[in-house]
Point group: C2
Chain length 339, copies 2
């Protein structure tokens, strides 16, 4: 009898905020690995805000998810059949479908070293998350010693890495996040100089002014929306703004839902730069970034948090939680333990 | 008896669109040049949109004009008293007050060569205007052969230079301007590939799509507002947007008057860059730019238009006309003929 497993598919394209009904659990056979492939068992699945964009059928930097097809993303898996290069028990990372087992070409998998850091770190601080923070901040933001760096979504996976790297570079770091627990984490555990709870601040503009008496030199933007509108009023000359995410607008149903003060006059007055990017733009420099991040991690200069949800069936919930700001640090789902 | 002359002062800070009452004509003495100074007679005065910003008392890249003090800007003048280096009859350029005669330090004046081009060209294509186009387009926009360059305010002094330089660099150039006469000028005289009259286009978005079948690689933004909102929907990957002016918003009385679709998501999806700049950012490279512009002008590759208003008393009118799009090319005021 063929063994079966669960797969999560895109049942329909979300209207505004995604809901459970946009996902479908489908029972499918566990595949047989073909020539050049190995069978892998899913250990950890990464859910990320950018996936919201892929659920829409619009022109973007990544292909949209297909309707009635499996969703997919970065996954840590265990090799459970011997291949030519990979052996049973190897822990690997790759872009895999959201299902319990996959048959995958060996060349699409990269073996990871779990003696350096736990496997899950390769979905976070040592993976795309850490590299996004590293290249966005250092290549576009270019913080200098003593400058003020503001980061929104500061307690998230990317944001918390950005703030810490900015501190390593000698900048004064101000984080914006959405709960008192996150604020305490940023200030006490990550040593941010200031942190603002945008949900309880009476006047976000005033709170930013108080936290940034010397203005803002770098703004690492993870959120867009009204928070970024407020930041734009405090730019110094030649401010650099890496535009990494706009989570506040990902669920906008139309352009009319994402309206705010235009930025042109502010950019001219301050001669500032805004630049959208994705980590893939830096793929030829990944090894440089990964090496530096691993070094900082080993030296205890970089800390990371994970929010780990247990169980394959909870992947949609964990994804939906990203838009409610439920996660602190990297949001992962643990699907199974290694054998 | 002391000779007198007219000076134009800032009588009050404009509320929204400037009006005549914001200016005051004052009778003042013709000054006596002191040691190291020469007396100069104003020939041509330049009026520029950026001056609107200086009329406001807000943080910007240039000091605001003082209330009840003379307005000032780039001026071509004739030396009428012999100095140490400058002689009577020399034609010079400098930042001078809006008045008929000035006593100015010789070191604040630069002698210009009127055999190369008419004196007025030094306020336009060979001056800050041409340099703004040159550095903004080439340093930030970086057009490549075959790319599509869109320029707004295309029939203005900066815009018309931008389009022509983009053509020299082998790009396909689409201009946006506000009258059929300007459209004809762009297409027939300046050889733009396409030109859109935003005032008569039924749907500016559709008109842009038709004019840019391959999307937009460089957008030189002189206007901000709804025109730029429409452009932002057609960005290709890695589009570069030099943000030079936002004339549509200069008269906004508050932030609430300059509201539009937020740009963050669009910048991320296309990995594009917006950068505010002013020509002064490139002051250490002015000689490079001026040399190249003069060469193109000499070779007949660069054409320019001037709208010359006659008479000192018409300076405020000419300035106010900028915001109604009345000028084609550089707006100047001819105050007097050389002796």
């Amino acid at each position: 009898m063929t063994k079966t497993q669960q797969q999560i598919q895109l049942a329909r394209r979300p209207q505004g905020v995604p809901v459970h009904e946009d996902f479908r659990f489908e029972t499918i056979p566990v595949p047989e690995p073909q020539q050049g492939e190995v069978l892998v068992k899913t250990l950890y699945v990464s859910v990320d805000p950018y996936m919201r964009g892929r659920m829409q059928d619009t022109k973007s930097y990544v292909k949209p998810f297909g309707l009635d097809e499996a969703l997919s993303g970065r996954v840590i898996a265990e090799v459970v059949s011997d291949g030519e290069h990979l052996k049973k028990g190897d822990i690997v990372i790759g872009n895999l479908s959201w299902q319990e087992f996959s048959a995958v070409s060996e060349s699409a998998l990269r073996k990871i070293d779990t003696s350096l850091a736990p496997a899950s770190a390769y979905l976070g601080i040592l993976g795309m998350t850490g590299l996004t923070a590293y290249f966005g901040l250092l290549d576009i933001g270019r913080p200098k010693e003593g400058e003020t760096v503001v980061v929104s979504g500061a307690a998230g996976a990317v944001g918390s890495a950005v703030g810490q790297i900015a501190k390593i570079k000698g900048a004064r770091v101000v984080g914006i996040a959405g709960s008192d627990e996150k604020i305490a984490y940023l200030k006490q555990e990550l040593q941010f100089d200031e942190a603002i709870n945008y949900k309880t601040a009476e006047d976000i503009q005033k709170a930013l002014e108080d936290a940034c008496p010397d203005g803002i030199d770098v703004y690492f933007d993870n959120v867009g929306g009204p928070i970024s509108d407020a930041v734009m009023n405090l730019l110094n000359e030649f401010t650099r703004i890496p535009v990494c995410g706009a989570i506040s607008s990902y669920n906008a149903e139309s352009e009319a839902d994402d309206i705010g003060p235009r930025v042109q006059s502010k950019l001219i007055k301050t001669k500032s730069l805004m630049q959208g990017f994705i980590v893939g733009d830096y793929s030829d420099r990944f090894s440089e970034g990964a090496k530096q991040l691993a070094e900082w991690l080993k030296d205890g200069k970089l800390h990371y948090e994970e929010t780990i949800t247990e169980g394959f069936e909870n992947i949609p919930d964990a994804f939906l939680g990203l838009f409610k700001g439920e996660n602190k640090g990297k949001q992962l789902i643990k699907v199974s333990d290694p054998n």
